[in-house]
Symmetry: C2
Subunit: 361 residues, 2 copies
């Protein structure tokens, strides 16, 4: 006779648990499935707008023709910077696997997307957990005329100002490609640190609120570590982190630098002065003050007419149409944010000469 003390049984589908779950988890798991162990927080189902699934049932954002119709044509988008959906990759402990994955992403975008519409441009994925390999990827594809940027997931063990990343920055500067930082999965797998300055977030709601803290920390670290003295042409743009924290950060850095400048002796200007030359922010998602004029005041404080660039976050659930910019903005400011700032930053044609979908000017 035998006693087996360890037999792993399972349920056929998570739905079988539903009768035994109380609300609100019953509804949550019925609608979205179980929370993934790699983040531990609930994300909306794929984070997608319900209406963005292509007619053939393929995933939202996977069909160039459908995106062209639903985004580019509908909203008069002259250029769309494709940024993919692999923000977990820089959290993967195996750098060789991660490097292979981002290269495959990049080649797939070049093969399947760029030929479909001249308005599609792309950000080049890199696995920054291996800076030398990331630099090689930039050298491999950074000269492609439709590659406008290098793309970082924010998920990292080491703050981006550290010299560990210098090989990437050398390559990006050599190819004159700005680096976009997009929220990743802080706290998951490799990812140090936790996603907020106080530790793990409980929910996707709290995590999403906290993205701006990460961008504040990275912006301060990049500037105070002297990255922009080491790489005077290097530029970053911060995606999905909001905007209204930037005046605070600039002013606090300047105030503290005045008393403690011996701790960053390589800086030749006030910390805030590096922002205009090296940092841009994108619009989505925008803060929502109760008084619209407060957002306009923030726009003035951070010089949004130069620093802010429109982004829709299509096909994600919190997509912002171009009309999401605050009313009360001057026509000039609106044009700069919707087009000119990004054209200047990425070296795209000026507004009146933007091509149509066949590439005609």
């Amino acid at each position: 006779m035998i006693i087996d003390c360890d037999v792993h049984h399972t349920r056929k589908h998570v739905r079988e648990l539903l009768p035994y779950l109380p609300e609100p988890w019953k509804t949550e798991i019925a609608k979205y499935g179980e929370r993934k162990m790699n983040a531990g927080i609930l994300q909306q189902e794929g984070g997608m707008r319900w209406d963005t699934q292509p007619p053939d049932g393929s995933p939202p954002g996977s069909d160039p023709a459908h995106m062209r119709e639903q985004l580019l044509d509908r909203y008069n988008i002259a250029y769309a910077l494709l940024s993919g959906s692999g923000h977990h990759i820089t959290a993967i402990p195996d750098p060789d696997y991660a490097t292979a994955l981002v290269s495959a992403w990049n080649d797939h975008t070049i093969a399947h997307w760029l030929p479909q519409d001249r308005r599609f441009k792309m950000s080049l994925w890199v696995a920054h957990q291996d800076p030398a390999a990331a630099a090689r990827e930039i050298d491999r594809l950074g000269g492609h005329p439709d590659v406008l940027a290098v793309w970082f997931s924010s998920t990292t063990r080491i703050p981006f100002g550290h010299r560990w990343f210098d090989p990437i920055y050398e390559a990006a500067q050599r190819h004159n490609l700005p680096i976009g930082i997009h929220p990743g999965q802080g706290g998951a797998m490799l990812a140090q640190p936790a996603p907020t300055a106080a530790g793990m977030a409980r929910s996707y709601l709290e995590w999403h609120v906290g993205v701006s803290q990460l961008y504040m920390a990275q912006t301060a670290n990049l500037i105070l570590e002297g990255v922009f003295e080491r790489f005077p042409q290097l530029r970053f743009f911060l995606v999905e982190g909001g905007i209204a924290w930037l005046p605070h950060l600039m002013w606090r850095m300047d105030a503290h630098f005045k008393g403690l400048r011996q701790q960053a002796p390589w800086l030749k200007r006030l910390p805030s002065e590096y922002v205009a030359d090296h940092i841009r922010l994108t619009t989505q998602p925008m803060e929502e003050p109760r008084q619209a004029r407060h957002l306009l005041q923030i726009f003035e404080m951070l010089d949004a007419e130069r620093l802010l660039m429109y982004a829709s976050d299509y096909p994600h659930w919190d997509f912002d149409a171009p009309t999401a910019l605050p009313s009360g903005l001057s026509a000039h400011a609106r044009e700069r944010i919707l087009y000119d700032n990004a054209a200047d930053f990425f070296g795209l044609p000026a507004r009146l000469r933007a091509p149509d979908r066949e590439g005609r000017v």
Copy 2:
């Protein structure tokens, strides 16, 4: 014959290393000594204003008579909330030792400081790594008429919204004591997480810039975890973290809550609406925008006339006199920030009835 493969030699004083060190470290170590291992970042020598050492050579801030003269009398301070200098204690892994230490701090303040001047009031230290013990300390001394608050170091393994801290919050609410949060030593000893949202700071300069990120994370965590629904009378005040980030945080929380409210179903109001009833900020150190009107706009956005309370940070190096408030502020706002807001918050007499140093009204 013997070969000893491990013999620990040392130098008599760190000064002996100076001839072998290049600048700027030679000067730094000569002036400030070696960086402490518990934080790994340089702090100014004790962080003190050079002129605050009492005439007898004792440490800055250790002599009630000297503080009375240099701070209270000189600046017409009606009440001074003594907050001590033990912000490392909540990072100590031994909770019994930490609890003994904060109790000793509290008893010492009651014995040596409160009898010296009626204007001295105190914040009660607690070792929040042991919530039950911290609650007992609040019950032991929270009824003392000169105890106006409970004092948290920000150094914590767990975000403050977690129910782990509920015993402390029950006790603080029972005694009607608001909780002050002061920067601690994130990244040192017990302290999870690192002091910024991107990981360890390189320098004291970067660490100090990052304090506001921690306060943003804690404020979001307290509100989104529903602490103020569980403890409707509980209040917090955030010390030394700046102010201009609060509008951003309120607006971003509200914007995201509108789409994700099922993740914090216990909230009965918009996240920002909890701020006015439950959160206060102190003034020092203030952000320094190049245009003074920008700070006044921020004051309006966060309702500084109700939420902001003056603090000097005496005797620290970045002390702010009451005159550090921005010019352009109305006399009414100035009075509220310098006195009325704190009087309301801590239950002190209204301005015209504030006592003199002998306690006469």
